[in-house]
Amino acid sequence: MKLVLVSTRGVRSLNSTNFPAPWPFVKKGAFGQRKIGPMNYEKFKWPGQNREFPELSPKFQKLNPKELHRYTGVQADGFHDEKTGEFVPVKEMRSELVVPNLDGFKLRPYVSYRTDVQIEKRRVAYEKKVLEKGSERLADLHTVEDERWPPPKMSAETLFELAYGDTVRSAYKEGKYGNK
């Protein structure tokens, strides 16, 4: 039953048997029908103590689980038909790279720290406007939307207003929502 060679001289070693799991109820010596829950052998399995297995390998401990048969590390582009035994390629499963054109793209990997200064200026100005007008709605009426910080939130009401607001108003004026 021992999975690891245990020293018979009574010398403590670094084998996993000497370091049982912190919880005692999963594996207390009982097997089969008497076990309480699934047996999770975490102590000596992936990932290792110092992340020595960055990827899951079927060769680890010669386990080769069924789910990892034919594991190639890439996405499959078809399936094996059980009836005919042939490989059926599927167009939707095949990866197609659609790359946008980034000529003249302005964003860079990093953000300048001067941005914090700009944000602070905008925040101070907006807070001053809010204190002056008394509420956020009134302050928004007197603020350039691009200069507001924090930027206005996009809510369902705002999206509805932008997409269907004019249509609903004109239909209401034409009397399409009457009780008749």
Partner: protein, 278 residues
Amino acid sequence: MLTSRALRIPRKPFVDLDYARHMPSAYVERTKRTVPRKVFGDRFGAPDIKMYYVHPDDYVPSHRRPWEDKQISSHLHRSDKYFSAQLSNQYFNLRRPKSERMADTEWTFFPGDLVQVMVGKDKGRQGLVLTTSRDSSDVIVDGLHTKLGEDMEGSEKLGVDKTLRWQEQPLSVSKKQVMLVDPNDEQPCEARWQLNGPGDEYIRVSTRSGYEIPIPSQAKVTYEYLQPENYIEVEGKDTPADAVLERTYMPKVASFEQEIMEEMGIKEERTPKPTFWY
């Protein structure tokens, strides 16, 4: 109204002032070795059990940054000893008492401040703060509270003569070994944060006289810049502030996938299955 009232409470930007403000926190934790070595999850909903390299409660803060050369060597050495002690442990070992770090909202010392030393041979003398450490609640004053020490250890092996230098030692703020100087009468005082007259900004005032102690410009210095307005942008790597804050979002009634397909010219050729609404 709740939002407006919350907006009227001024923020406390002094909490974030630190020389190493821009260091990534994951990197800092890794240099401290206070990261989990192994996480035992999958415990039927019970919280994960984490086996740390060095438990955060056992981390010993010091004045130096954790990523400095000697500091990181000592941290690695300590994590090795920590693991050996855990493996060979036969008895329950009480952890060291938690380091009682001062709250950031009560910290009133910044680099460039004029302070007075209250202990040691330089007692009563005033100097400028060189560096601060909130983790260990101490401060290094320029040229004061020094101890004679070797400048480069082990230099004689390299053929260089031994050089001695007076090295500043940290002064504890929580034990009041160093105090701020009141700008009114040049005497030591305690400080606290208080709203100014208009009530729109927090200022640091002396507890005794009520005079404001201005924050030196050196407090805003970080690894990256002396002043954020004068940050030197790297061409081709830093995005300018105008490009960052440019607003390009156009609201549209479409899902993200639909928007991308439309923009990239991707056509949907399949006929979807009919759907029924009941």
